[in-house]
Symmetry: C2
Subunit: 407 residues, 2 copies
């Protein structure tokens, strides 16, 4: 009998009524003839409540004790879902990460799954039970409780699906992945199929739906991941090994835009690889998360470098740059905070050249200045002034068919 791993997020199990609805959805799958393994997150804002209890005690709780605290959240939801399944006449059994021997590294709060001993789980499935597993958690070799960090439950689900050679379904409160955040492109289209590489290139496409790490794991073990809505029967999105399977592939699958970064430009650096190494080395040492980088040489053998970093890292960047300026007064630098960073991604770009050219053309025709651009095989990212953000998004959305067809 085929196995399906279903994961339900915190908002899907936020109340006992919602847990009962999840039970119905699980039972439906079971009745379709599958063995069902369910991975749950903690109910609603339980995790936040637990964190605030810890903050009441100390500003600096030990990561080990935080994990001891936080792992209770999923344990509550798995017990309740098992009860709900039992109450509807289905045999179900819940397991914590410790009970299932979900072995992780020993870095508390940021553990990574090493292996899962699925013996106990397979035994329960053989007894025709629905198995309900606490997501987000595991244990070290010494049976110390660990959590997997952000997106942990998604990762648990994909890892279990890989171990069980099962289908993987992630249920949440949206009904799939969209070509673009509908707050910025109101008629954004739901994507039927998207490939792992595309999802990984624009992690924000899955923001709040599935975590990057889970997609990465799905890619590694070639597990197709279905994303759908817990409380509707709309068809969702499948993340798999390749994009849309129509003969004529879409060139662009999705788009993202962020106004959370700033652009830093340095003029007149001494042109050497060493100085670049030094600059980005110091930024990395300070854990500033540099994203786009572009550089060019000037006639007098100096270098201009421009890069983007998150707004939260701006203070750090300024300190590093001021120190440099003290050493070499010829260096000038400026910061632009009013930028938007727009990205498009599409496996189709590999075979369709000229996407970058099309972007240049669209922006130029509409008087939008491109302040910086970087390209990869399946992704183009460029920076525009924040005032031009929505206009640029609309132009791209229309040109590359990212919106619902007009009725």
């Amino acid at each position: 009998m085929e196995i399906v791993v279903q994961k339900y997020g915190g908002s899907s199990v936020a109340t006992t009524d919602k847990i009962k609805k999840v039970a119905e959805k699980v039972i439906k799958k079971k009745e379709e003839g599958y063995h069902v393994v369910v991975i749950l997150s903690a109910m609603g804002d339980t995790t936040d409540t637990l964190i605030s209890l810890a903050k009441d005690i100390t500003d600096n709780p030990s990561p080990r004790e935080m994990d001891m605290l936080l792992t209770t959240g999923e344990q509550v939801s798995i017990a309740l879902l098992s009860m709900a399944l039992n109450a509807k006449g289905y045999s179900a059994v819940s397991f914590t990460g410790s009970q299932l021997n979900i072995k992780t590294t020993s870095i508390h709060q940021k553990a990574r799954i090493k292996d899962i001993d699925v013996l106990k789980l397979r035994k329960a499935l053989k007894e025709d039970k629905i198995v309900v597993v606490a997501g987000f958690q595991g244990v070290t070799e010494d049976n110390e409780y660990t959590t997997l960090g952000r997106g942990g439950s998604d990762t648990s689900a994909v890892a279990l699906a890989a171990k069980l050679n099962a289908k993987c379904e992630i249920y949440t409160d949206v009904d799939g992945i969209y070509t673009m955040d509908p707050r910025k492109l109101p008629r954004a289209r739901k994507i039927d199929r998207i490939c792992y590489e595309e999802m990984m290139e624009i992690a924000s496409l899955g923001a709040g739906v599935i975590h990057y790490r889970a997609v990465e794991l799905g890619h590694k073990y070639q597990i197709p991941i279905y994303i759908g809505s817990t409380f509707s029967d709309n068809i969702g999105t499948i993340i798999t090994n390749r994009g849309g399977d129509s003969m004529e592939e879409t060139v662009i699958t999705g788009m993202a835009s962020s106004t959370d970064d700033i652009q830093v430009t340095l003029l007149n650096l001494t042109s050497s690889t060493e100085s670049l190494y030094k600059l980005f080395g110091e930024l990395a040492a300070g854990e500033a998360n540099v994203d786009m980088i572009s550089q060019m040489l000037t006639e007098d053998n100096k270098m201009h470098v421009s890069f983007t970093i998150p707004k939260t890292d701006v203070q750090l960047a300024k300190e590093i740059l001021n120190k440099w300026k003290e050493e070499d007064e010829s260096i000038q630098w400026e910061v632009n905070t009013d930028i938007a960073k727009i990205s498009v991604v599409g496996l189709g770009m590999r075979s369709h050249s000229g996407v970058a050219a099309k972007v240049f053309q669209l922006m130029a025709e509409n008087d939008i200045e491109i302040k910086m651009i970087t390209t990869s095989e399946i992704k183009i990212t460029w920076v525009v002034d924040i005032k031009d953000e929505l206009k640029a998004i609309q132009l791209i959305g229309k040109e590359f068919g990212l919106e619902e067809p007009a009725e």
Copy 2:
């Protein structure tokens, strides 16, 4: 270094502020030069909140899943106390029942401790850590989570103390065991020392302070149990192998009274052991909790039997008795619901005969009818009309010195 096991109940850890105060108390003990092991209950009414979540799901949750749910309560409090201890600069580590391998029978919700593997715990103490343990919980051989039922955390504490050959201290929101419930004897005296047998004979003396099972375990392994207040430094009560250690032992150590029972009297039973066996057998089969029993033979070889049962079992008793009456119309029975059941207990009774006589005398002199009486070596229990309850308590309290001395 000597080990102390301290147990703090739910009301002692009801808020994060209270948990910080508990941390101070634990540290004080540590600073006195002890290794400290702390057993905690769940915070305040957490357990009730979890139970009501389960009730929202189903009226009849599986005991296994209830244990999965309830064991999260203590896990939260141990994590928070460890954080509080760490924050004050003390090395502390928390363990669940599963992590400490507190092996129990496999009867969920009513498990009994079989053994505790204290290897991990001793290792942590050796590293000079304060060890914080989740009370009330354990695991089966298959690592299924279990709970110990009512009074479970007390039992965990005494069991650990026995395994570690440690002192045992139970902290709660009262400062010891009193000679009598102060709501009924306002000037009831705090008892300095009481022996296990006395506590076990009148379980209600420790009601809300320490559970019967824990006292039983303390007795079995000869672990003295200290009962004190979490938030005051008043001297509490020690439960140990013998009562007060003054040369002249008090005759009566404590008193209890209950109005939760009814008295059933059957007249004209056919006098045979078989009929008694049948009567109490049927009551037991219905799980009616018969307490006192007295019988007498009449001249015509019939038997009168009188017994007490909890009010909650009265319907059940009536059904059984009515069936009997159908079979033998000569049987008459009556129920008296307006009774109080008063007990006195004292190791001193063994050597001081005449306590029963004194009770008879006091009641007679004050026109209080004794409706039934049973005696054991260290306990006398008698039934009076409910209207006479407080008067009888005052008379006994005064006669046997159960009140604070007048100032």
